[in-house]
């Protein structure tokens, strides 16, 4: 209850800020960045798996939001709008650095280390950094559309409809991507967790 009330206050504030930003108010923009930077950087990091790229993409996202604030009509929430900008930029970034995946074999050793940890201390796994890293690495192996849909649903807690709005696809497309993402991720994890 408390959480949803707080969220609502923040969203209204966000919407007010966007209106001011549209009128060219840089002070409002600065406040807007402060309020939303943690979420935007974190979302970019979850999709990209790269700290410095995540910061760069988040900066780009805020600048783009600044320039398109006058086109924000409030059909979607400010969060959905900001997430859509961030997701678009992150996916564009992934298309550009496609070749980097050729070097993913370098991660094999790291995965090995997590596997050992997993088998030695299965009981305290969920709290460990290893479990988070293992899970994130596995998620990053998914094709980018499946990965994004899964992250938005499972860890950002968004509804199928909200995800559809963010990604510009139908709800049924979101559902089928999610289904494939769950299956593919399970297959990857089963290979790693022998």
């Amino acid at each position: 209850m408390m959480k949803s009330t707080t969220d609502k206050i923040q969203l209204e504030k966000n919407a007010d800020l966007v209106a001011k930003i549209a009128a060219g108010d840089r002070q409002a923009f600065s406040q807007f960045v402060l309020q939303n930077q943690r979420q935007v950087v974190n979302l970019a990091f979850r999709i990209l798996g790269d700290r410095s790229a995540a910061e760069d993409i988040a900066q780009d996202a805020f600048l783009r939001a600044y320039h398109s604030a006058d086109r924000f009509r409030g059909e979607a929430s400010v969060q959905t709008w900001l997430y859509r900008i961030t997701v678009n930029l992150a996916l564009k970034h992934l298309r550009k650095r496609k070749w980097e995946r050729l070097f993913s074999f370098l991660e094999a050793e790291e995965i090995n280390r997590w596997q050992t940890e997993l088998n030695q201390h299965p009981d305290r796994l969920a709290e460990t950094e290893e479990a988070k890293q293992l899970l994130h690495r596995a998620v990053l192996q998914l094709p980018k559309a499946q990965r994004t849909v899964l992250i938005l649903h499972r860890w950002e807690g968004l509804s199928h409809k909200e995800i559809a709005d963010i990604m510009g696809v139908s709800v049924s497309a979101v559902e089928s991507r999610l289904h494939r993402a769950y299956k593919k991720l399970a297959t990857i994890l089963s290979r790693w967790m022998k």
Binding site: R26, F29, S30, V33, L34, Q37, R38, V40, V41, N42, F45, R46, R51, A54, E55, A58, Q59, F62, L63, Y66, H67, S68, N88, L94, R95, K98, L118, P122, D123, L125, A126, T128, E129, A131, K132, Q133, L134, L135, H136, V139, P143, K144, A145, Q146, I151, R154, W155, R177, L178, H179, R180, Y182, K183, L185, A186, T187, L189, S190, M193
Partner: protein, 153 residues
């Protein structure tokens, strides 16, 4: 049900994303198969984990504001429109066009007319159908790679 099939659906099972029929089948396998029931317990512990988090660096807002300051003019809407909407829409069209051109070119060069016009002055193997088939496949592969993951889902 095979163990591999069970493992593939294990996360869907945990998050209640299966219809009753499939779910019952999986539950049945889990009860009967010791390997899978142990596996699913281990998997559940990984699945409970959060993803790692990253907060913005202390200078984040400052950097954004500095970039805003240094922008002399805003990017034109046409440029954004081109990048975000027209370009992605054109990519599949370009692939189809390329394939059509490849097919027609290959066919045209493989026809007796093209061979007759040749008069033996050019190396015959360059105009053979085999040569154009390899060319087309390689070029198609290159175009496919440049398309990014548009078709990966």
């Amino acid at each position: 049900m095979k163990c591999s099939e069970f493992k593939t659906q294990a996360l869907l099972l945990m998050d209640h994303r299966l219809n009753d029929a499939v779910r019952q089948e999986l539950e049945k396998h889990r009860e009967e198969c010791r390997t899978c029931s142990e596996y699913v317990e281990k998997l559940a512990r990984v699945w409970q984990a959060e993803l790692p988090e990253l907060d913005a660096s202390p200078a984040f807002r400052q950097r954004v504001m500095a970039r805003l300051q240094s922008e002399s003019s805003r990017p034109s809407r046409m440029a954004e429109l081109w990048e975000d909407r027209l370009l992605p829409a054109l990519r599949p069209t370009a692939l189809v066009m390329f394939m059509l051109v490849s097919i027609f070119l290959g066919r045209w060069l493989a026809t007796p007319t093209a061979a007759l016009n040749n008069n033996g002055t050019e190396p015959q193997d360059m105009l053979s159908i085999e040569y154009f088939e390899t060319l087309t496949q390689e070029s198609l592969a290159a175009v496919y790679l440049s398309l990014g993951e548009e078709t990966d889902e």
